[in-house]
């Protein structure tokens, strides 16, 4: 663990102890240096005093060359255990007497050196001139002392110093342990709080404030921040709960609506299926008696024509025409039932193309009829102008076949695109029977809608024989009659209504039916 990662307590203690130790060390070093220097001075002064005394006492021995006296004098140095050697040299520098007596020749200098005291090779040595008072030099005294006394004192001082330092460091450590708390405690408390917030996401905890210093201000700011966060979090939670409740309510509501829609759809489907089955069955059962009516009328016409007058034959023709007309109606009902049974789907189709197909089909079926097609856009236009139409799951052109079947009897069919500008809708236009299909594309291009007009033909001339008409529709009270299956008009229109489309019957300008 690097120093940077140490806990703050240890860091503070270490800093305090290191500083204390350094101060003590420097102080002790200065003190030891001074003591060493002063001890050396004292030792040299003491040796020089002793040298002068012995030199003064040995003048007589040297002056009278009394060697025994001189040796005795030097032997008195035994009292000082630190004096390791002493030599008296005569006037010419020869050794006159030495201490201790058995000192080796190489342990002491053979000739006296320059006068004075100095430290040399771990010893203090000195050459003291031996002179008679104020005149003649008689010889030289050499003294050598070891420095054990100095070292002993120094050693003692070091031991004392180390002991003091140890005690002082211990005291510094203990004190720093106590005192660092004033700084580290608030920081640690802050850190603890921050940790609790981040791990438990608990914004209700607060850091304890331990003083009014900068750390106290920091703690206050931190606590305020926590308070604000807590408030915001509470508010957010309230909002979230509210939102969740609302979503749940809405979901429940939607589910209920869905369920009800599903029920309705199922009921509708069942009703529709029943109706279809009914229509299918009825249509089939109706055809059999019709065939009999028509067949036996023909039998009468063929076998008993002679017994019948013109009116009787006309009546039989009418019976046949009516039954055939009814057959057509039943066929149309069957077709419708078949279309209704097919599955519904919505998709984009090319209405213009379909209109063209239907128109050409009608033209082919009845070449004598006048088919007028206006404003049928070309193929390049078709993609852009597609409109959604609804129909059974068949190829698109077939889905308008119902339409085509329904209007097949009409003299003219017009399916054209029309600009929906309210100002252009004159009274004449409004009187027309029209089928309007508005689909997806119409919503995309609001100015466009499709209109299909079915116009009936004029009333048949009175002089035309009735049996030439293959089928007639009942007079609805208008001035015009149309052929084709009117019974299917409303189902077909309903087919075109539904989501995304609309279909409205209008009036025929020639005075057609009023829906």
């Amino acid at each position: 663990m690097s120093l940077r990662d140490w806990p703050i307590k240890r860091k503070l203690t270490a800093i305090l102890v290191v500083i204390s130790g350094l101060v003590l060390l420097l102080t002790s070093a200065a003190f030891a240096g001074y003591q060493y220097w002063s001890l050396r001075q004292t030792t040299r002064d003491a040796l020089s005093v002793r040298g002068r005394i012995i030199a003064a006492n040995s003048t007589a021995s040297l002056a009278f060359s009394n060697e025994a006296d001189a040796r005795e004098l030097l032997a008195a140095l035994r009292a000082d255990p630190h004096i390791v050697a002493a030599v008296l040299y005569d006037k010419v520098g020869h050794v006159f007497a030495a201490y201790p007596a058995d000192v080796a020749g190489n342990a002491v200098p053979a000739a006296p050196g320059p006068d004075g005291y100095r430290f040399e090779r771990g010893r203090l040595i000195g050459f003291q001139p031996v002179e008679e008072a104020g005149s003649q030099r008689l010889g030289t005294l050499y003294l050598a002392s070891d420095l054990e006394a100095v070292y002993d004192t120094l050693r003692l001082s070091v031991v004392i110093g180390l002991a003091v330092m140890g005690v002082a460091l211990l005291a510094a450590y203990l004190l720093s342990m106590v005192l660092q708390g004033t700084i580290s405690q608030p920081i640690l408390a802050l850190a603890e709080t921050a940790k609790a917030v981040s791990t438990r996401q608990d914004y209700s905890v607060r850091a304890p404030k331990l003083g009014e210093d900068e750390l106290g201000a920091l703690t206050d700011a931190f606590n305020q921040m926590l308070g604000r966060i807590e408030d915001q979090k509470d508010e957010l939670q309230r909002h979230a709960a509210d939102l969740e409740r609302r979503v749940e309510e809405r979901t429940h509501e939607l589910q209920e609506r869905n369920e009800s829609l599903r029920r309705n759809a199922a009921e509708l489907l069942a009703a529709n299926t029943e109706l279809d089955a009914f229509a299918y069955s009825v249509s089939h059962d109706l055809r059999a008696p019709l065939r009999s009516i028509d067949g036996f009328s023909q039998v009468l016409l063929e076998d008993y024509a002679a017994q019948l007058d013109e009116a009787g034959r006309e009546s039989l023709h009418r019976v046949r025409a009516a039954s055939q007309r009814m057959g057509t109606l039943i066929d149309d009902l069957l077709k419708l039932a078949r279309v209704t049974r097919a599955e519904m789907r919505t998709e984009d189709v090319d209405l213009s193309g379909m209109a063209r197909d239907i128109a050409s089909e009608l033209q082919r079926a009845a070449p004598e009829r006048q088919v007028e097609i206006r404003d049928c856009p070309g193929a390049e236009d078709a993609g852009r102008r597609t409109a959604a139409a609804r129909g059974p799951r068949q190829s698109p052109p077939q889905q308008l076949e119902i339409h085509c079947e329904a209007v097949g009897g009409a003299r003219r069919i017009r399916i054209r695109r029309r600009e929906r500008r309210p100002g252009l809708r004159g009274p004449g236009q409004r009187r027309r029977l029209r089928h309007e299909v508005r689909g997806q594309a119409v919503r995309r291009v609001p100015a466009t809608a499709f209109r299909c007009r079915i116009r009936g033909h004029r009333r048949r001339p009175r002089n035309r024989p009735a049996h030439h008409q293959p089928a007639r529709r009942p007079d609805l009270g208008g001035r015009c009659r149309r052929s084709g299956s009117d019974v299917l008009l409303h189902p077909v229109m309903a087919r075109f209504r539904g989501p995304g489309g609309s279909c409205e019957p209008g009036k025929d300008p020639a005075g057609g039916r009023q829906p």
């Binding site: 065939r291 028509d294 009328s297």
Partner: protein
């Protein structure tokens, strides 16, 4: 005229009368055996409950209605195709229905032809005439299978 018989399976007496008349008016004088329901048709073809079967001479063509009491037309057709003796017998479905599902089912059960009865009697006699001409004159009947 081909001596082959026609088996007409039809429950509606009016339709029977009209069909017979239509055939007669076009000089199709072959014997017409009328079965009023599916069970009678099967009795005639296979012979059950003591009645002598018409095995010796199968009809040249069967005109089969679909909506029949007791045994319906589809079932009759199924039985005809299932039996070894009548497997190849020409069967023309002659019915009021032109429902796609009926057409598909009829053909998949092996009908040779499917004709819808028109309401218009003139058209109906035309259809009967053409059926008679085709199946009795033009069509070559399948060989009568040898009985074990």
């Amino acid at each position: 005229m081909n001596p082959g018989k026609i088996l007409l399976v039809e429950d509606n007496p009016d339709d029977v009368a009209l069909t017979l008349r239509a055939l007669k008016s076009h000089n199709i004088t072959n014997d017409v055996v009328v079965a009023e329901d599916g069970a009678q048709a099967l009795d005639y073809l296979f012979g059950t409950a003591g009645k002598s079967p018409a095995e010796k001479e199968l009809p040249a063509v069967v005109l089969l209605d679909l909506k029949l009491p007791k045994v319906n037309g589809m079932e009759v057709l199924q039985r005809i195709r299932a039996s070894e003796g009548t497997r190849l017998l020409p069967v023309v479905i002659l019915t009021s229905s032109d429902e796609e599902r009926d057409v598909i089912e009829g053909y998949s059960l092996g009908a040779n032809s499917y004709v819808r009865k028109p309401v218009d009697f003139v058209e109906f006699t035309q259809a009967a005439k053409q059926l008679g001409l085709y199946w009795l004159l033009m069509n070559r009947a399948p060989p009568v299978p040898r009985r074990p």
